[in-house]
Symmetry: C2
Subunit: 295 residues, 2 copies
């Protein structure tokens, strides 16, 4: 697969709005702001969920959400995906008859951005997963990935207030999704993998978001053995990663990173002292263009 | 009310865990990581939701969640709040008999961190709210609030990967809550206000999180006319703020800020050129102690 087979398109006029406001001097200024709109997902006849999204790739988002909720099984044949822009709905149809009435009654809200989820169901398959022990991560790959991803034009650099997730292989970013919720971004990647038959073997997952329990569970369910984040950890996220044998790397910025699980997969082939600190004009969190802001 | 009547307690051993990992040089390091644990909220006999939280103030979190979901009415008498640490449950009891079966079936996932929510119900009262037109925000207050909040000891500075929300009045931070989800943090403030009979009059809301639709709706429902964030905006958040007459200020860091709604409440009484940029060793996003990380 080619580098950046899917990449953000900050020039897409549907994804940002120009808005006028007032700055600290009282002067009018115009800025780019990301869109946020509802999208309701149906599985066959059943309304599953309404989510807030920037609105690109509704098909990948819907399928990925259903996959990560264990509502679409590995052997399900998808008979159709109908997106209606005006109604803001996506209907995913399967040959199998589905009914998740009971599942839908149980609401669990996670620490993750953007999504509550059906947590019991997420955990349903967690214990069954065996992640490949022979996967490796070279630190030279980690540094190359961070550099390529942070320098790629993105909605983040254009407008801020958005999360990014990237499916990678060795030192190459392959599928780069952004969304107002980072769980939407990971779900869009899961949907892309399902619909394009992309194997998790040899893949590495990069995210701008925090490594909470839900992010760890989703990565494990997607069978990806290594995850790298610019952000920090929660204790439960770390415990679940250790339990599943997931390599969990956080606080990856410039030359620094910290692995709190699965460090045995890391091959230290690059001297961190040779890695440039992030250029403050380029780094995601201090881009002059968008002003520094937290996610 | 006194400054920092409620403030983070980073020394509380229940809120962080020391964890051992490996840094970029391959050397073992120990670091603080925030806890994340489930808490299930019941309203009378009905299970409402399970949320992931750091676990402090379960009573405020439960009541604030129910208030912000319009499940607790202004005239409801709370007959009891029972927290069971072992079961990880909070039961809120009201004199009125409640049944939200129908409401609970509709799941909406928002862009906000940490919580999906019942969006239709959030919007239920949105149109009725009239925010006070005579509220003001002096820019000297804004700068003083940012400085005081960022310098206060916090779990953020100790362990990162956490959001903060602060209820303020003029230049004084009053109630400072943190949580792995920023919607938990705002809900804990709503619960505190409800249980301690704190009026929203003259209050200002400060958050580290993004100004998405849900954050705007919650602030409006809490009748707080001014919100300040270190983070950015979504377009729908801005539109809802304009509709409700909320003053919406984002990207507030150092001397900079940007108001995209309700700028008429701002009194520019301080020359921004006199405001120090955030000390890079102190600022939330680059604290050496925790390493810079995104939320």
């Amino acid at each position: 697969m080619e580098e950046f087979t899917v990449r953000p398109n900050p020039a897409d006029p549907r994804l940002t709005r120009r808005m006028v406001g007032v700055d600290q001097t009282g002067q009018p200024v115009e800025t780019s702001v990301v869109t946020e709109q509802p999208l309701t997902v149906f599985l066959n006849g059943q309304e599953i969920v309404t989510m807030m999204t920037i609105g690109d790739f509704p098909d990948y988002l819907a399928v990925g959400y259903l996959v990560n909720q264990n509502m679409l099984r590995a052997d399900d044949r998808i008979a159709g995906i109908d997106y209606d822009e005006d109604l803001a709905t996506v209907v995913v149809r399967t040959e199998r008859r589905t009914n998740y009435e009971t599942k839908l009654r149980k609401k669990t809200l996670t620490s993750g951005c953007a999504q509550g989820t059906v947590f019991g169901d997420l955990m349903e398959k967690f214990d069954e997963v065996r992640l490949p022990a022979d996967a490796i991560l070279r630190t030279s790959w980690l540094y190359a990935l961070s550099r390529k991803i942070n320098l790629a034009p993105s909605l983040y650099l254009e407008a801020g207030a958005i999360h990014g997730c990237v499916l990678c292989e060795a030192d190459r970013p392959l599928i780069y999704m952004e969304d107002v919720g980072r769980h939407n971004a990971i779900d869009k990647i899961a949907g892309y993998m399902r619909l394009n038959d992309v194997s998790p073997d040899g893949k590495i997952f990069y995210t701008t978001g925090r490594l909470t329990s839900e992010m760890v569970i989703k990565t494990v369910q997607m069978r990806i053995p290594i995850v790298i984040s610019r952000s920090g950890f929660t204790a439960w996220g770390v415990e679940l990663a250790r339990q599943a044998g997931l390599t969990l790397i956080g606080r990856a910025k410039g030359k620094r990173f910290l692995a709190l699980a699965g460090a045995e997969r890391i091959v230290f082939d690059q001297d961190p002292e040779g890695v440039a600190e992030e250029d403050s004009r380029r780094q995601r969190k201090a881009a002059e263009k968008t002003m520094a802001e937290d996610l």
